[in-house]
């Protein structure tokens, strides 16, 4: 306990180590929060659920906090619906028929145009299909008919894909034409003010009813933006933290511990055991790690846990074994091992109770420094298209961004957010690792 306190006092002398520890603590806190706030099943469902789950999200929208930058005032997503707001709906009974008028107010004060605009209608009726007319009323009083048709129970009117409407709007797509200032020439400029969407519906039975929902998709959305499949990137960015930490930590602990045990066993039993371990290590050095992982990913399984096991297996007989062996060779000769042998301790007891605990502190810095390399290994595999097919990870986000040309198309947030998280994680662990290395390694002390 005392020695731990002393180490702690030494660590505190390194500001980078303190910063690194803060980062690690923040990541752990974030992971714990994520795992409780969005349970595993829910996260996977959200990530894999398909576009219907995210129908109210824009595609490729940047994070909403972009508006905090000076000079930027871009629209965020607005959802205006009649359900739950009875004041937006007025009904009129005309013996047997029923007329419903829904007015949806849209207050638009942004400097940019929305990404898309869609109208979703849901009707409850008995026999005949309701007939609706949707009219768009601009702040300066123009009226534009958006739809004039009979609808089924669920109707999605994708105004941005309506080419006839586009022609009526002088060749501008609906999300631009509906909001453009008609008095400006050249590049369209949005007209700010109070817009209204009026849906007049003719229903053919007194019990029938209708609800409308207008979604004006923003250029900005949520904390982290959205991807090409309308998914909120908050999910993978949050869930990336526990997965990265778990993968990095398990891979690092799995490979260092097993390497250490093998090295200790080799040194303790010596002779053919040692020779065998040395030969296996040399064979392993020839085998290329990444191609093997790619082969495993392509041919067997892309599950992150299978890959983790292969990583650990390949890591057991890594070059590190030679370093550990050199240390254990010294330890083996120390008097306390002789004492243990004298009282009749078994080989396993000596290896696990005397040799490994003696060496473990020296290896702590190496262990900490190994974690980021595994975190990046996961990202590397994901960028090669071999990421886990169901889990949302930082690497997967990068891969999606890369394959969808995010850099070429200017969706920089899509690349920068996962990258920032990856590099922060990497830096956090490696700063602590470096400081620990200088503390535990006497030859480096003061250098």
């Amino acid at each position: 306990m005392n020695s731990v306190l002393k180490r702690w006092a030494e660590i505190r002398r390194y500001p980078s180590a303190i910063a690194g520890m803060m980062i690690i603590l923040a990541l752990v806190a974030l992971s714990v929060y994520t795992v409780f706030a969005i349970p595993y099943r829910q996260a996977i469902q959200l990530w894999r659920g398909g576009e219907n789950l995210w129908i109210e999200n824009p595609r490729n929208a940047a994070p909403a906090w972009f508006n905090l930058f000076p000079g930027i005032n871009l629209p965020t997503t607005m959802v205006i619906e009649s359900q739950g707001s009875p004041e937006r709906k007025a009904a009129l009974d005309l013996d047997g028929l029923k007329e419903v008028r829904i007015e949806l107010p849209v207050s638009f004060t942004f400097d940019g145009f929305p990404k898309e605009i869609s109208l979703f209608l849901s009707a409850r009726y008995q026999t005949a299909d309701p007939y609706i007319t949707a009219t768009w009323i601009t702040p300066d009083g123009r009226e534009i008919v958006l739809a004039d048709q009979s609808i089924k129970r669920e109707a999605s009117i994708r105004l941005s894909q309506d080419t006839r409407l586009e022609r009526r709007l002088r060749g501008l797509s609906a999300e631009i034409g509906l909001f453009a200032d008609p008095n400006r020439q050249g590049e369209p400029v949005p007209l700010k003010g109070e817009y209204r969407l009026v849906v007049d519906a003719l229903l053919f039975a007194p019990g029938d009813d209708l609800d409308a929902k207008l979604v004006v998709y923003g250029q900005l959305h949520g904390l982290a933006g959205t991807d090409h499949r309308r998914r909120d990137l908050t999910i993978p960015l949050l869930w990336g933290a526990p997965i990265a930490l778990a993968f990095g930590f398990l891979a690092a602990i799995g490979s260092t511990l097993s390497t250490m045990i093998i090295a200790a066993a080799g040194v303790w039993w010596g002779r053919w055991v040692d020779a065998l371990i040395q030969r296996i290590t040399e064979v392993n050095l020839i085998l290329p790690v990444l191609p093997i992982l790619i082969m495993v990913g392509t041919m067997y399984s892309r599950s992150i846990w299978v890959i983790l096991n292969v990583v650990i297996l390949l890591g057991i007989f890594s070059g590190g074994i030679k370093t550990y062996r050199a240390i254990f060779l010294q330890v083996k000769e120390s008097p306390y091992i002789e004492a243990a042998r004298a009282y009749g301790a078994s080989s396993l007891r000596i290896i696990f109770r005397y040799m490994i605990p003696r060496v473990a502190p020296i290896l702590v810095p190496q262990f900490v420094a190994l974690i980021p390399s595994y975190v990046f290994l996961e990202a590397t595999l994901a960028v090669l298209g071999l990421g886990d097919p169901i889990l949302p990870t930082w690497g997967k986000v990068l891969d999606d961004a890369y394959t969808n040309g995010a850099i070429y198309r200017g969706y920089f947030y899509w690349v920068l957010l996962p990258s920032a998280l990856l590099i922060t994680t990497g830096l956090g662990f490696s700063m602590v690792g470096f400081a620990l290395d200088r503390i535990f390694n006497p030859r480096l002390r003061g250098l």
Binding site: R279, M295, A379, T380, F434
Partner: protein
Amino acid sequence: MAKAGTFGDRQARRLVRSRGASTGMRILKYTLSRALALLATVVVGVYLTVLIANMGGHVDEIRRSAIREQAALTLQLNQEARLLSAEERNQILNELIAVEERRLGLDQPFVVRSFRALWQALTLDLGRAYYMTSDSGSRQVRLIILERLAPTLLLFATAELLLFFLSVLIALFLSRRYGSWLDRLIVALAPTSAAPSWFYGVFLILIFAAILRWFPFGGMVQTPPPQGTLPYALSVLKHLVLPASSIVISAIFYSIYSWRTFFLIYSSEDYVEMAKAKGLTSAAIERRYILRPTLPTIITSFALTIISLWTGSIVLERVFNWPGLGQLIYRAIGSFDAPVIVGSVVVYAYLLALTVFVLDIVYAIIDPRVKVGAEGQTS
């Protein structure tokens, strides 16, 4: 990997010190035993690669079903075959399949074929690819690999050599100015090497290709390739800047840091203090008392750098769309093309083994400590 040399060093000393034969004999004996051990290592490593690349024989199943499909299709398109009865057609189909399987050697069990593949790989008879072709249309694995070797060597040799010499020189410079602000800055920046080169590549593309438009997004030469040698070379150079810089940036700070630490450890030895006390110039101290004893380590590191060029980097080449070996291996794995995978691994294995071997011998001969030990024993 850098540890391989030191290990051989230790073993060499043990071997050389053993009593009996003369120094020459001992070195010969040592050389032979090292060569045998390394050869065995290569054989086992390559055989494992053969097994993995063929998925333990499963790739054969994939190829068999592809042959069956092809044969069925051929028969279906044949007008005359339609007149035959189902039984006859089936017989012809089986014959077609058997001929094709015999042609590709698939009629033999996988175990036999795997050993044949091992032997061919070891004798560097790299054979024919299953599916892939070189850009000139050849199925020869040798040609496919050779075609991709030049771009990989160009990119990685430029970057790695730059990295190696820059970091050793800057480290020497820093070890003299230990504790200066530059020194502290480099130490503080060393943790940035936790991220791999492709990660920095993405950033460089974002800044210098997407925003500033100074350099191209990827590829090795513009399309269509410019006429004439000089414009071509300039175009390649322009494409080379970003990938090479990302390799250098990703590793340089850590590399400088570790060399600097290494030099500092050596410059705190007593004989260096002694030299300082004698009033030697710092250049002389550096050359005679710091670089001399660290030379074996520097050589080892340099040799390992050189052979690491061979593998390239799969992800970096993909990010920059660089037509090198890394991309080749990735595509070969994606299309289950075992001969290409085995071919590239076996050449790497040979190069690695050869380098380790040469280093071992060089160590046994030039390291003064080894020599003194041997003479002490014989005299």
